[in-house]
Structures are given as structure tokens and as C-alpha cells.
Assembly symmetry: C2
Amino acid sequence: MRLPDSFYSTVRARLGDALDVRGLDGFLATTSADVAFLSGFFYIATERPVYLWMPREGDPLLVIPRLDEEYAAQQGVTIETVSYFEFPGVVTAEQTLGAALASRRPKQIGVSAGLSIGAYRALSRALGGSTLVTTDAVARLRLRKFPEEIPFHEAAARICDEMLGAGRELIADALRRGTALPREDEIARHVIGYGTDRMYADYDLVVYTTKLAGGLVYAGPNSALPHGLPTRRRIRPGDTLILSLGAAVASRFVESERTFVVGEPTAEQQRYYEADREAQEVGTQAMRAGRTCAEVNKTCLDVLRGHGLGDFIRHRQGHGIGLQNHEAPWVEDGDDTVLEPGMLLSSEPGVYVPGHAGYRISDTVLVEENGPRRLTGYPRDLASNIIEEVR
Amino acid sequence: MRLPDSFYSTVRARLGDALDVRGLDGFLATTSADVAFLSGFFYIATERPVYLWMPREGDPLLVIPRLDEEYAAQQGVTIETVSYFEFPGVVTAEQTLGAALASRRPKQIGVSAGLSIGAYRALSRALGGSTLVTTDAVARLRLRKFPEEIPFHEAAARICDEMLGAGRELIADALRRGTALPREDEIARHVIGYGTDRMYADYDLVVYTTKLAGGLVYAGPNSALPHGLPTRRRIRPGDTLILSLGAAVASRFVESERTFVVGEPTAEQQRYYEADREAQEVGTQAMRAGRTCAEVNKTCLDVLRGHGLGDFIRHRQGHGIGLQNHEAPWVEDGDDTVLEPGMLLSSEPGVYVPGHAGYRISDTVLVEENGPRRLTGYPRDLASNIIEEVR
């Protein structure tokens, strides 16, 4: 799970240009996603700060807790590294960084607007003489995926599609055997375990910043709550069922979500399913370079409104996806970002009918020069997603 | 998984007092832990902001995305709630909050120092006329657990101890059957699945802010990296094995971590194990009201240093635990917090011998008037934690 060195050298060159334009002497990365993006060091965020100093000129520097030294070495991180012992520390992470940068005396240091007020104050004290300036330099670099990142998203997409298949098969198998249908929580555990196993089978050194594989599973009336957790409810014949799954290889995320019907769909189920499928198809085809996120979102959700389902919309069409499972840009009315080749987006309109069920189909879509390309490919037509009862 | 109403009314009364002292008109909670603590609304943090306004006088107000309205109702949240449609939104979360508070005109609003610079700016713009002031009012309220919270931590402790037993049994069972020993990743999946299943079996409506159950599993040389991820390495006779597990009921966390030896321990394994067990015992007994975190940490780690193992220390004795699996206070040299009854701490000194193995024993310990009380109770003596080979 390691990106080629060429990726990191390209990213650093592009970051240098962005810092030049902004008149910054360097960027101080403070989040696990930014640090992994710029350095290839993957860690799970805790209260122990990790700081990556990326100067416009000269060598980068990584500040980590002592606890992580061997772990960084195991990952093949070659950036100069200094460690502080612990959090909060007699000598803090910020003071350790300040001492290491003392001879370099950067004047203007870019930081992300996601930095907390507390960390901003601690850094400002420890980096006396330097000014911390919020900048979108790295956020903008992450908007368009680099060619070296795409195979990792593609690998995650294959696994995520297989997770959908594993969930479907768990139910189909119970129907064939005539045994009790699984519960929502059992299906969730099964598919997440399946995805995790696949990662470990395929990669020697598994790394991530938040998770390898995750998922929500909800059926029947529960599926009408887009953010509910899986429950102990057992799947029933006639249920609408959403498998909302994600996976990440080297923390490059995808999501793949499908709606299934257990047994022959009713006219009501067909109507909602087909409307959502159509909105997802139209919305996905609209994901083209030159259009704004807001336009694409409207194009997509207008399909649902056109079917008289406006009252059942609970969320936007989608969001950017990359080193975080949700990141900019946002495929929503309030985001005027113009789509460009290399952007990776979820396309996931949903229909939520209180008391009945929810319907959502999500693919991870790469904006290419010639148009959108789905990285996830699980079948989307209703016929393919009926889990048949055995009669 | 719901705390009694008496808990929330007590917390609000105590918060009111803290705001009075600080001259604040209210507190604006901006993190999932603070919101869950003050309101009983549990959600998983995403880019969609949730804001809970807790005025010194008058009624609280919850601002959530439209997506979560039914979910909040399902959880029985009775606080007045307004929703914004989506993130980033044509009307943002911050503007929605600003409109709702316009008639109340609070002057001084307390926020946590964990708030991001970006959110601080958006809130300041939307709440024109109000001043946002960082405060530790809620952080301090969370330092000492309330009596109503303890049963939830105790319930999590029982499950976490059982997870340890389930992991041990997976290996013991393979030894008995003479089948291949499980891999680290298989054990991790097994124990996390076990803990999750128990939660679902015991509670009607499962809620959390980050996770229900989690764990790291590492054996042999891998266990010398305290932050490594489980690998595909298969357990071997002779291995030292760390099961580092956590669980949360209503997001009230505990951790329970044990070191096992597969087969008869060598003299080297006995030495490291016994030193760590002794440090954990001495350090746990030191967790008494009136002592500082720094003193307790030193007392604990001095045991390891006394055994000549100072070079193998990689982290502090422990940390606070509550609605987050790591939270203040920090049982570390840099934290002079004086322990008080009601504080809940991990006690988890570790010994990490590069190339050989790691040893860590962790309990979740409640500071009571009479002294420390372990909520987790899995056996700690070496004899109990030998997983025997069948001969």
C-alpha cells in the first residue's frame, strides 16, 4: 500500500508552486489526511499531534510522538523525523517543532483552516517570529486526484463492489437454505469483515488513516433514516434494503451503495427504485468538466422532483472523495466549484419515504477529459438487485 | 442506551454555574462528544456541522442537518431543533444558527478551543454582535464523571473483558483442535465482532459517536510497535501477544488490554511481563484523589526504570477516558491536574523491546473517595494469561 516516489516528488513540486504564488515560506500539515498525502506517513489521529513541515525550499521535516518512530520507519518514511516523548509533554510537540525550525526562521507559514484554535495558539507561541496564515494550498492540490492515486481508488472500488456481493449472498444463501434471514447488524459485520479480509489478503503492509472498510446496513422502515445505525432487525421478505459501503486502499476511499429488494418488488418499490436509479444515472452523466457542482446537483435532484418525490429528498447528490471519505468539492447547491478532470465524486441521490423505506444508489465517479467514469461497477438495474425468495 | 433525564438536568445546572462564573451568556457545543454529553443526541461527526446552544438562562437549541431530523427524534431528543438542508448549503449551518439566535442576542458565547479556525470565522460572521470566547467550562465538567454515567462505563467494561476472553479462546480452541493458529487480523475481527454483537444483544437502540468496539492485536515482534496495525501474521507457539481492546456503551468508553504468552513463557518473557504487571499495579494504586497526574505517572514508570527497562518505555502511564476513548486529564509528566473522585483513567504502562515483543496491561480505573477502583477485571497475573499448547 505505498504510492510511488514519483507521486510524492510531483506533489512537492506542485506545492512549491502554490506556496510561491501565495508568498508562503512553507506549509505546516496538521491533519492525518494532509500528512499522508504529502509524506506517505499514515497514522490514526489521536490527541498526540503530528506536524509535517513542507518548506518552499529545502527539506521537509516530520514531528511525531516517540511512540510512532518505529511505525514510521516500518512504512518506509524517509523524511527527516524528530520526535517528542508524549502528549501533553514537558516539552510539547509544538516546542519540538519550534526548536527544529529555529535555524530556518520561516516568516510566513501556511496552515489549513481546519486547525483548531488551541493548536493555532500553541504553534504561534512556539514558533515566535513566524506568522501562521490559513491557506487552501493543499486543499486545492487534493481536489484533482493525481494519476498515481487512481489505481488505489480502483483497487478499493473492486473490493467495495465485492463487499456488496458478499452482503447480497449472505441473504440469498439464507433464502436458499430456508434458514432465518440475517439481521442488519449481522450483515454489517459480515461485509465489513469481508472487505477487511480482502485488504489483508491483497497487501503486505496495510495502512490507513481512519478505516479500511466500513458500512451501514438498513432495511424496511429503518432505511428511511439515512444516518441511522444498523439495528438488530432481521431482514424480512418484501424488505427494501440499503447496503451503504466504503473501502480505502492506502487511505484512498471509494463508496459503493446499492438498494436491494427481497422478493418480488411491489409497484411502490419499483416506482421509488426506478426514480432513484434514473436520478443517479442522469446525475452521474452530468458530472463533466466545466459544469459546477451546484448545476450537477440540481440536474440530478430535479429528476426526483420531476417524479413528485421532492418531499423525500434528505441530502445532496454527493461529495468529493479521496484521502477522506467525504471531502471537497461538494455536489450541492451551495458549492460553485467548477468540475475538472481528476476530480473524484460520489453520486448518490436518495429517496427516503418515512415509515416505508429508503432508496439510494451510490457510485464513485472520476471526472475525465471525455466525461464521467464510474470506478464502482456493481449492477444498478432493479432486476439485478432483487434477492429472490425460494418458493 | 439512554442516560436518565436527571443526568441532563444536573449537567445543565452545573453548566449554568460555570457560565455564571465566567460571565458567559451560553456555551455553543461544536463536537459530537460535547453535544452528546449535554443533550443526549449521538451522531457520527462529518463535515455537516451540528451546533448545540446551551444558554445560561432559557431553553437550549440544537442545529442539525435535515438528514438527521428523524434520527434525533428516534433517540428521544426533546430539545428544540432547527435544521439546515445540507453542507455547505445555500443557507449554511452557521446562518441557520444565527437566525435562530437573532432574537436572543447573546453577547459572550463560550466555545471549545478545539473549534477550527474556519468554523470560528464562519460562526463569528453569522453571529454578528456576539463574541466567541474559548472556555474550558464543558471540558472541566467532563473531567469528573457523574454518578449516572458510571453504570454505562461498567457495562462497557464487562463487554470489553469478555472480548479479551473471546480472543484468548479463539487461540486456545485452535491449540486444542490442532488447527492453524489464527492471524492477528483474524483475532482483531473476531473480538471486535464479538463486542459489537454483545452491544446489539443487550441494547434496543445502539448509539455511539465514534465506535462501539475496537481493538488492535499484535504478536511477537509486531507487538513492539505500540501503534502498529494488526497484520496477517499468524500467531506462533512462544509468541507474546497483546490484545488492546476498547468498548463504549452510550459512547461511555473503557479500555481493557492484556498481554498473553502462547505456551510456557521464557525467562525473558517472564521478566518483562512481571515488570509491566508490577508497574501497572503500583501505578493503579497510586491513582488517588489529591495526587497529580504527573506524580502518578512518575510513580508508575519508575517501576519500569527500577527494573532497568527505561529504554523500552514508549508512552505515558495513561489518559482520561469518558465520552472519548482518550480525553483529559493525561497521566503524564506534563499534566499537573490534581486527581479528584469521579475521574476515570486508563492505567496502561508498556514495555516495548524492539525485535522481541511488547508488553502492556491496561485497566480503566475510577478514582473514588476511598481510592482507585478498576472497572475492568480480566486477570492480570501471568499464570492466568498463558495460553497453553496441547502436548
